[in-house]
Amino acid sequence: MVPGVILPAMTYPPLGFGLGLRVPHFEHVLQHKPPVDWFEVLSENYMVAGGKPRYYLQQIREHYPMAMHGVSLSIGSTDPLDMDYLKKLKTLANEVQPAWISDHLCFTRCGNVNSHDLLPLPYNEETLRHLAGRIRQVQEFLGRQILMENVSSYLTYSASEMTEWEFLAAVAERADCLILLDVNNIYVSACNHGFQPETYLEYMDADRIQQFHLAGHTRQGEFLIDTHDQPVPDPVWDLYARAVELFGPVTTMIERDDNIPAFDELLDELGQARTLANSTLGKTEPVTGEQHAGTPRTADPVY
């Protein structure tokens, strides 16, 4: 990649329908080799010297393709890039040989204090410039394009000058990175900020969409909280169908981070995603947002 030169987007070959690999399922996956196309692993969970997590990672990797998903890159932070973290990430990638590496479009730390949360960024030109340079640096260091994921948010900074979808699209274009669209996060943010989630999807450049996340959330008063601890709810399924209409057979996974159910329950949910995507793609007539029978229920606007 040449800094400053925007090349046509090139996505990685799709992986199909996958699940997040979680500790309670290690033994089940290894013993039963369930019919999952691929697994997404949380990079930080394996950045340890050894032990059970790394053992299972190596064993399961022999049977499934994997993608690495991180939560600690803090790409939007104004702290210097954490080169120690990036070196560990690269070492792990050399070991795992993932199909791709992703993290979140957010900041997690500042002034060397870590929030361990995916904190939103102000959507403006200053942040865009900052991010574009940092993502390019990371991509050059890792020797590959990375995916940036949209996060759920509960506030909009006064310093923001554009919508989140305009911002995400601009980041991907300027940094020449790919996008991981978390459909649940779009829905959660739509509810919390009062926008139409379809508008978000319809703005995005299909050439840069590499992966979808599907997940659930929790209502807390007048807000939706991105807990990733519930089954995928109907409005998110509906939004997913719209995403498949717009972007085609994009690699999809169910991301359950807490309240982890039995593996087969997640497998059933993944089957739902597969069925929905196939039936959506099987449609012959173009479907607009208005015609689509499963138009997402408009989130309860906060404003």
Binding site: E44, M47, V48, A49, G50, G51, K52, P53, R54, Y55, S72, S77, T78, D82, D84, Y85, F107, R109, C110, G111, N112, V113, N114, S115, H116, D117, L119, L121, P122, E126, T127, H130, Y154, L155, T156, Y157, S158, A159, Q220, G221, E222, F223, I225, V302, Y303
Partner: protein, 269 residues
């Protein structure tokens, strides 16, 4: 980048304890909505760190009871903003905090229990290595025995406890009442991860602790046997040394047996 830097600094300061007045400016119809939105992040910050402490130190929680544990959690989170990338290490300073902060410092067994729980975690995800076995020991030429050196698994740790902290931890783990705290005798403990990738621990007698420490430092078998003369008659010291090495091999503590090279003459006649 100056505005972005200031915004991020203010947000982090708010999460770690400052009032909402200093938080970044956000869109909200009124102060109530502004507080609601910001508090989602502040609450999440505390809940996340609290969950780490609860998960990493569940027996310490049982030992302290809900009220003291709550006091500890709030005090630790307030005084120790996280500087680590991984939450795995957030509680690394907890034993020091307990040893130096009232009222916990009045009961040193509390810091010892926290130390023990952290070392179990260290054993859990220490680097991996192949284990040596008894046939490797038997295959060694008798001439090589005196200079034989051992290499230990990276998970192996020795621990010195002044209180009956490990016994208390185990009682709680077994859903029993912990014994009354006492510091009647110093106790040595060995922690490691076994071949089944489970963290293990056991007490060490004074002689085993001494020779294990020397063996880890690289002393050869002859030197270990010399050390054992402090506890055993001369005709039994090498037998005792061999018994220890056999046990260490069976427990998966040893990764390599290196034949001696410096001296082929047995030091113990």
């Amino acid at each position: 980048m100056q505005a972005l830097r200031e915004l991020q600094t203010r947000f982090i300061d708010y999460l770690t304890g400052e009032s909402a007045d200093g938080a970044p400016s956000i869109h909200a119809d009124d102060a109530h909505e502004r507080a609601l939105r910001l508090d989602i992040y502040k609450n999440a910050y505390h809940i996340r760190l609290r969950e780490v402490i609860e998960t990493d130190h569940d027996m310490l929680w049982s030992y302290l009871g809900d009220e003291l544990f709550e006091q500890m959690v709030n005090g630790y989170i307030a005084s120790h903003p996280s500087h680590c990338t991984s939450l795995r290490y957030f509680c690394n300073q907890l034993p020091d905090y307990l040893a130096t902060t009232g009222p916990f410092d009045q009961h040193p067994i509390i810091a010892e229990i926290a130390t023990f729980e952290r070392l179990l975690m260290d054993a859990f995800d220490a680097a991996g290595a192949d284990r040596a076995d008894l046939p490797e020991l038997r295959a060694l030429s008798p001439d090589d025995w005196p200079g034989m050196q051992l290499r230990f698994h990276p998970s192996v740790q020795l621990l010195k406890m002044h209180w009956n902290s490990v016994e208390s931890w185990k009682a709680l783990k077994d859903d029993d009442e912990p014994p009354a705290a006492n510091d009647a005798a110093v106790q040595h403990w060995l922690l490691w991860r076994d071949d089944e990738r489970l963290s293990q621990y056991r007490p060490l007698d004074e002689d085993e602790q001494a020779v294990l420490l020397q063996a880890i430092a690289g002393d050869d078998f002859a030197t270990l046997c010399e050390a054992l003369l402090n506890w055993y008659p001369v005709e039994q010291a090498s037998v005792a040394g061999l018994q220890y090495i056999t046990a260490w091999l069976e427990q998966g503590l040893i990764t390599a047996i290196e034949a001696g090279s410096k001296d082929s003459t047995p030091r113990l006649a």
